[in-house]
Amino acid sequence: MATDKSNLQLVVNGILNENPIFRLVLSMCPAVGISTTVMNGIMLGVAVLFVQVFSSCTISLVKNWIHPRIRIPTYTLTIATWVTVIDMVLAAYLPEAYAKMGIFVKLIVAFAIITMRLEMFASKENLTHSFWDGVGMGLGFMVGMMAIGFVRELLGLGTILGYDVLGFRPLLFFILPLAGFFCVGLMMGFFNYIETRYKRVKQG
């Protein structure tokens, strides 16, 4: 069963229609826990992109040799291997950023989004499609994290990527860790509102 979408459509699908954070509501832990700045979002986004793309490719290559009964453990172990790789690379080359993200890099192994993509997509499609689907999902996650980070950093610190934009701090509350819940909730509600308005306008 091959997909009839082009590579570009697969990428766009991951970023918009099936955005892991806002549409599928998966991988919420980092979206709440460490989305305080845009930079954190980019860093974890890169890590997830790496793991997603490489796991998708691996599973897509070996899909015909996996017995259906043990497919979930196989996916988990594949992801765990790639997470170990990125974990050690980050710890060695970017120790400061790694310390900021703390345990969340190791926890990529438990992100539902990656397992789900392997089960729904990579185990049925060929290598090229799986690669682009992985890129789309990884980028979708990164964009979602950056969007939350953007709102929180702007409202909490008045900065974007460390540069002072507003010159004052509107709502310091937003950089508190627990404000992630409120921020994600409000943003989801906002997107839902835009979607309903858009549909209403489209219908005339």
């Binding site: 509501v25 998966l26 991988s27 919420m28 832990c29 709440v32 826990g33 979930i72 453990p73 988990t76 172990l77 992801i79 765990a80 291997t81 997470v83 170990t84 974990d87 050690m88 345990i103 190791k106 926890l107 192994v109 438990a110 992100f111 539902a112 397992t115 789900m116 860790p177 627990l178 404000a179 992630g180 819940f181 409120f182 994600v184 909730g185 409000l186 989801m188 509600g189 906002f190 839902n192 509102y193 309903t196």
Partner: protein, 318 residues
């Protein structure tokens, strides 16, 4: 009935074994020792002691038992009016959850018979274990203050029945997999220098436990099994269940400490799920703005719970 008595007796022996280090007193000069406030150790002597020697910080060496190289700096030492109780004040706050070692050096041999007196100051072990439990349950609740396991949290907190079943199953899986992870970490991975395989081994053990629970539940309680649907599989994809072994390995916990951590994490998850489900059942009747129906409002409610759980920070029972 006979089995019950046996169980009680075993429990009593266990409690006694845990309390024994507390009851045992140091011999010689010292009658008792304990932590005062967070930057103070209180030492009680058997007889009044010499002001010139025992009120001088130069005669004391204090360090955490795990880091003998890092000497903790004393600010001052005070003796009370009877000369039997010494208050050791420190410049930095002490980590009172860890055992500390106090050495009194260069003592006049005429007084004590030896020039060095060393003793250990620690909180009662049972209290320490309970503090790990309470910490994982309330103060560092995995859902509301560590933001872990949110996918499953929002997915299964729609009805109280599901929440209860999920929470209990989750706790069981968590405890079993954490203890297995502890065993593998201590006896296989550490001796062979395989620390870097933590993620792979721990997630493998979790999958194994989940598979076992899945098979058993399918046979024993099909109703509960149907209620969980896809979420039992998603237990593997839950951050909490892999975070517990990672924290265990990071802190070098022993068997009992690991057990308490896993129990607290599972109990905390159950607590969070149940509270959330109670609110969400009520919320179905409330008039929520259309765009916020479902997940968005659940996030905002969770945020309010998280605010409430901030109140537990700084809680110290033992």
């Amino acid at each position: 009935m006979h089995r019950l008595t046996m169980l009680m007796r075993a429990l009593a022996v266990l409690t006694l074994a845990l309390l024994l280090p507390v009851l045992a007193q140091a011999d010689g000069l010292i009658a008792g020792k304990s932590f005062g406030n967070d930057r103070e150790i209180v030492v009680t002597f058997k007889a009044p002691v010499d002001q010139a020697v025992f009120a001088d910080p130069a005669h004391y060496l204090v360090y955490e038992e795990s880091d003998p190289d890092i000497r903790l700096e004393l600010a001052d030492v005070r003796l009370d009016s009877t000369g039997k109780i010494a208050f050791l004040g420190f410049k930095e706050p002490l980590n009172t959850t860890r055992p500390h070692v106090v050495s009194m050096i260069d003592l006049p041999a005429a007084v004590t018979g030896r020039t060095v007196e060393t003793f250990r100051v620690a909180k009662p072990y049972l209290g320490y274990l309970l503090s790990i439990l309470v910490s994982a349950l309330l103060i560092n609740n995995f859902v509301f203050t560590k933001y872990l396991g949110l996918c499953v949290f929002f997915g299964t907190s729609k009805r109280r029945d599901t929440a209860k079943g999920m929470g209990v199953t989750f706790t069981i899986v968590m405890v079993v997999s954490a203890l297995m992870s502890w065993f593998f970490y201590q006896f296989v991975m550490k001796p062979h220098g395989l620390d870097f395989l933590q993620i792979v081994v721990f997630i493998g053990l979790v999958s194994l436990t989940v598979q076992a629970v899945d098979t058993i539940l399918r046979k024993v309680n099909p109703v509960l099994f149907n209620a969980f649907g896809v979420y039992l599989v998603l237990v593997i994809a839950n951050c909490v269940i892999i975070a517990v072994p990672l924290i265990m390995a990071n802190n070098e916990y022993n068997f009992l400490e690991t057990f308490m951590l896993a129990l607290g994490a599972g109990g905390g998850f159950l607590l969070a799920l149940y509270m959330m489900a109670s609110v969400r059942e009520r919320m179905e009747l409330a008039r929520v703005p259309k765009s916020f129906k479902g997940v968005p409002i659940a996030f905002i409610v969770a945020g309010q719970f998280a605010l409430a759980f901030l109140g537990f920070s700084g809680l110290s029972l033992f």
